[in-house]
């Protein structure tokens, strides 16, 4: 029974059911305005963009599988990269229709339909070998964008190998199409679902565990933890999720395409924007920053958080370009330094913020695995 293991990993100081405080804060902050701002200016455009990118991925992959060639593969690979970038701006939104479509990541094992990594190569090949097109039995690491990454990209960029594999196998073509159709369907359902759900989201403006503010903050924190632990900590050997604390360079996101660093930068932008309440154009609205500034002691935490965002960004942009997996092997120190700065942010986001905002947070607990 592994139900608390993710909590151990995440180090959630206020684990299952623990609340910062029970009292409703005696503040005049307009949470409805904040939620409305998030719903319309940040969440809706992100979901819409992902739905468009997922649709494009499906179309380009359909073209590639119908007619495998260098040109059609290039298009599919480019569409995959775009979809992965777009996803970075959606990964923190796992409530309402998005929870159903994207899955939950505050459980161990995580249940992420879109971005589980590393891809399960043996599983994918088994499903291909057995002509699977239904995804009922397909686990999270054998589906989603990282599974598609394995199918469409080659570590040594040998596209001919990829093209030949698809030319030779109907099953491979059909399985890949099923994966992209699944992403497209989920992205579309989340986008459409949000339009009808967002009114409920905005109206649920209290501070209880089931309030929208609590969900927004909780999923933001869970997403931050995922960024810290899964995208950096495990690959660079700073988080124990294997048999030793050795680097696990093959556990980076989008290992085969090799654009992990680009994704880290986008994911960081997305998290920073979310905290500020900024849209993709950088225009600040009513976000968690303003919410924090409205409470006693909040301004100090805001200043500390901004300083830490700056420190993280500086270290992030000191990581040399190229494949993150290669950088960790040949020159790991900049990645370790980056991880250290990300780690320092944990306290401000996970402890100070919910405590200052008197937000009641509970975490999922299943029966285990």
């Amino acid at each position: 029974m592994g139900k608390y293991s993710i909590l151990v990993l995440l180090g959630l100081a206020f684990a299952c059911g623990k609340k910062s405080t029970e009292e409703t804060p005696a503040d005049s902050f307009d949470r409805s305005a904040m939620l409305s701002d998030y719903a319309d200016r940040i969440i809706a455009p992100a979901l819409q963009d992902f739905a468009i990118k997922a649709d494009s991925l499906y179309l380009t992959v359909s073209h590639f599988t119908a007619s495998p060639s260098q040109e059609s593969l290039d298009s599919a690979q480019a569409a995959l990269r775009s979809a992965a970038v777009s996803w970075q701006y959606c990964s923190a939104f796992r409530y309402g229709p998005m929870l159903t479509q994207f899955g939950a990541i505050d459980v161990d094992p995580r249940q992420d339909y879109i971005f589980t990594f590393p891809a399960n190569v043996a599983g994918i090949e088994n499903f291909v070998a057995n002509n699977y097109t239904s995804l009922t039995d397909v686990g999270f690491a054998s589906r989603g964008l990282n599974a598609i990454d394995y199918l469409l990209n080659h570590l040594q960029d040998q596209d001919t190998v990829i093209i030949n594999k698809f030319t030779a196998s109907t099953a491979r073509r059909e399985f890949l199409k099923s994966l992209t159709l699944d992403i497209k369907s989920r992205a579309s359902a989340a986008n459409v679902g949000w339009q009808s759900f967002k009114g409920e989201f905005v109206a649920n403006n209290g501070t209880s565990a089931s309030s929208s503010s609590a969900e927004l903050i909780k999923q933001f924190i869970v997403d931050f933890e995922s960024f810290k632990n899964f995208e950096v900590g495990i690959p660079v050997g700073r988080v124990f999720a294997t048999y030793s604390l050795d680097p696990a360079t093959d556990k980076v996101a989008m290992y085969y395409a090799g654009n992990s660093l680009e994704l880290l930068k986008h994911h960081f932008d997305a998290m920073e924007n979310l905290w500020y309440g900024k849209n993709k154009a950088g225009i600040e609205g009513v976000g968690l920053k303003k919410y924090l500034e409205s409470v006693e002691g909040g301004k100090e935490t805001v200043a500390a958080t901004i300083n830490q965002f700056t420190a993280i960004r500086a270290k992030l942009y000191q990581i040399p370009g190229g494949r993150l997996s290669s950088t960790i092997q040949t020159n790991p120190q900049p990645v370790k330094d980056f991880y250290t700065e990300v780690l320092k942010m944990t306290h401000f986001l996970k402890s100070d913020m919910p405590s200052l905002l008197s937000i009641y947070i509970t975490y999922a607990s299943g029966d285990g695995d």
């Binding site: 161990d108 094992p109 399960n120 088994n126 686990g139």
Partner: protein
């Protein structure tokens, strides 16, 4: 329950690579000797877990303690014929497996969920002998003790969250997994506990027994449902080529099948139970997809549960 929890927590330590679990400590906890508990009040208590566990399973549990301890000596990754921790695929944590691919701590936990919790509820406190007593004070005490062994909050529902103040563990946790599929078995059990107590106060013995039967039968269905769910998970892990999760799910499935044996109102006959077990075999590394599907079909047939991969709501 506190002793049970401390013991299980020690068994789980083996899931950390290189962490030795001393069978003597587990044995001392079982017999409450040598002050083995972190909670000092347990050490001075006259209560012994061994005296509350079905005597017929003592030898098995002691052998499991030994088996777990042996496996925990491993310093290598687990594999076929090799004891050791296997990190669960897609997860950040793993489990310690013995040479035959059993997560022994799961077998200990589930056997205690059966031999300690279900045994005390079904065989001890809600036994016909106790329920036929004319001493209502004693009957009420037995009734309340049975509820205590279930380990759930008094206002427990299918949506009750686990909290640090009252973490939901063992049956309290697993009852929720298939609650809807089983037609609201939490509500059925909780209602039966309330109704049965009222029936004792009203001296309506027919009602008392009817409610006791509901509690036992619902627990039996819960155990069978969890065995189904874990066998489905094992099947899915096999298709995904996940050896760790396959063995983990097979261990838990076997554990729930073991736990079902302690229920005096179990629907499954010994012959049927043996048939299910025979499909699963005695070495998780050798259990095939077809074996698991046969076990699912048989168990589904006995309990009237859907074993179809596509339609079964136990497949989660």
């Amino acid at each position: 329950m506190a002793m049970f929890t401390e013991l299980i927590n020690i068994t789980k330590q083996g899931n950390t690579v290189g962490k030795f679990v001393d069978s003597t400590v587990l044995r001392n906890m079982f017999y409450n000797t040598g002050s083995p508990f972190a909670n000092a009040t347990l050490n001075t208590s006259t209560v012994k877990l061994s005296e509350a566990v079905d005597p017929s399973t003592h030898a098995l549990l002691l052998s499991y303690f030994q088996q777990l301890s042996e496996a925990s000596k491993s310093q290598t990754k687990g594999g076929k014929d090799t004891a050791g921790v296997i990190i669960s695929e897609e997860a950040t944590s793993g489990k310690l497996y013995d040479t035959k691919g059993y997560a022994v701590y799961e077998l200990i936990e589930k056997n205690l969920m059966g031999g300690f919790q279900v045994y005390n509820i079904g065989t001890v406190h809600l036994s016909d002998a106790n329920l036929n007593s004319t001493d209502n004070t004693a009957r009420l005490k037995n009734w309340d003790m049975a509820f205590g062994y279930l380990g759930v909050p008094r206002n427990y529902t299918a949506t009750t969250p686990s909290t640090p103040a009252f973490p939901l563990a063992y049956w309290a946790s697993y009852l929720k997994t298939n609650d809807a599929t089983l037609g609201g078995n939490i509500k059925n059990i909780m209602t039966a506990f309330v109704s049965g107590r009222k029936a004792i106060e009203a001296n309506n013995n027919t009602e008392v027994k009817a409610n006791a039967r509901i509690i036992k039968e619902e627990l039996d269905r819960t155990g069978a449902g969890m065995a189904m769910t874990y066998l489905f998970r094992a099947r899915k892990a096999m298709l995904n080529q996940y050896k760790g999760r396959r063995n983990g799910a097979l261990s838990e499935g076997r554990g729930f099948l073991d736990a079902m044996k302690f229920n005096p109102s179990r629907k499954i006959t010994d012959a049927e139970w043996n048939e299910v077990i025979s499909y699963l075999g005695t070495n998780n590394w050798d259990t095939s997809l077809a074996d698991v599907e046969k076990a699912l079909d048989k168990l589904g047939l006995v309990y009237g549960f859907d074993s179809n991969v596509t339609t079964s709501k136990f497949n989660k």
